[in-house]
Symmetry: C2
Subunit: 270 residues, 2 copies
């Protein structure tokens, strides 16, 4: 396996994000990936270079560095490892400096480091909101940005938390219970908020697996029950014109991104 | 404000992550950023190009595209917008193809798209774990990967949820109550798990602000109470040799990254 190191003067999240996206384009090649965050001194850069060189020697392959360190002295120290250096920021700095007419100010650990309190508060506030409006516990939807609707275990909670943490969006969720689904109309408390609704659906076979792990051998986890609930939920979404998405083959990031795009909610990522 | 577009055939998360990291290096320049995800057809690329061109014309500035679309035909269509094109993957593909000895397989929407069920399950399982082990409610710490310890509102819950969603780490948290802190020793139920503990601390003035918003004019939100709790918690961390970190000026990403590095937990990001 080819050793790959995500090296950063901050958390390494940018390096890992782009590195992961690059490596997945080489299907069939096996990589041994590792993060080396907070490389913000010459000593740490030299130590990282040693680690990287040794990893390459161990398997007899040139290692790869996906690098977001911005200090040129530290980059030189990292290059001593003999790795192929993919410098994530370098190719874009010059064109940006030219179009903006200013020089960049390299600030160590800036990208994912210090944050302003207002942004932090929005994330925390949204996370608390998602927690207190999870599974229909709290029903004050007036200040919700959106409400995810779906049967139990269709993926509502993690999606709400992800949107809260990353977009500061106040995402509530409402579980469609078997009782709700028998009514075959929108539950009363959701009706005033129709424009905020987004439906999550899921393949019944997959749902059955998830529920089986949660509550083994319960009626709740039978395929028949899952089929009935999912069919009723999908019917409700169609009938009420609620936009919906299947979570079966979709990552949390992708669900979140599609929900926000569909409801026209434009927020920056944190 | 200079218009900037994060354009992707998937969620746009990679484009936005690197774009944000690049733009923060140009302090003082104002950007009007927008995400255009799921650009996976010629029609969508042309529509995006029109949007981008118009945004530039409106403010009389050349727009910037931070692009992760991989299909060359779609890239050409985007270039029709006249924007400065920062193509995030392009500079790295050739060196990677050379070192790996294989051609990349451009797969639309691959990077943040379909996920295997095992990875999805790890994230969901970890998220459920974080939810059920939040604020000391459930005390089965045997299968915790780590336990965050700190006074109320020091940042434990969002950090646990972030680590669960992004690293699939089972992160519990234990709130140090005023009663715990009077004991000036490690609460009994934490003692068997000493190696999993990480302390979060916070500036008392900042804590006071956060608590004041939560429970206005309570004893809990007085500066004196915050000072006393934080001092006792920090004393406990020192005395028990628990690694600790102040969350005051630290982003959730950075806290998570430092906690994992400190406890020697190596996980890939999702």
């Amino acid at each position: 396996m080819r050793p790959v190191f995500y090296v950063s003067d901050g958390t390494g999240i940018t390096a890992e994000t782009i590195g992961h996206s690059l490596l997945t384009q080489f299907e069939g090649v096996e990589f041994d990936t590792r993060r080396i965050p907070f490389v913000d001194s010459l000593d740490k850069a030299r130590a990282a270079a040693r680690t990287i060189r040794e990893a390459g020697e161990r398997v007899g392959k040139q290692p790869i560095i996906v690098n977001t360190v911005v200090d040129s002295q530290l980059i030189e120290a990292l290059a001593e490892s003999g790795a192929l250096m993919l410098d994530v920021f370098t190719p874009f700095i010059q064109p940006l400096e030219k179009i903006l007419g200013v020089k960049r100010q390299p600030r160590v650990g800036h990208a994912h480091g210090m944050v302003d309190f207002a942004a932090y508060e929005r994330r925390i506030d949204a996370t608390n909101y998602a927690l207190s409006h999870d599974d229909g516990i709290d029903v004050h939807y007036d200040d919700a940005d959106l409400i995810l609707v779906g049967v139990s275990r269709s993926g509502k909670t993690p999606t709400c938390l992800y949107m809260a943490l990353h977009y500061g969006v106040r995402a509530a969720n409402y579980p469609l219970t078997p009782d709700d689904l028998e009514e075959s109309e929108l539950p009363k408390r959701l009706r005033p908020h129709r424009k905020k609704l987004f439906g999550l659906t899921i393949d019944p076979v997959r749902l059955q697996q998830i529920r089986q792990e949660r509550k083994p051998d319960s009626r709740y986890a039978t395929l028949e029950q899952c089929r009935r609930e999912v069919a009723a939920a999908e019917r409700l979404f169609r009938q009420e014109g609620i936009p919906a998405l299947s979570t079966t083959h979709t990552s949390i990031e992708e669900i979140a991104s599609k929900v926000l795009a569909s409801l026209g909610i434009h927020r920056h990522m944190f």
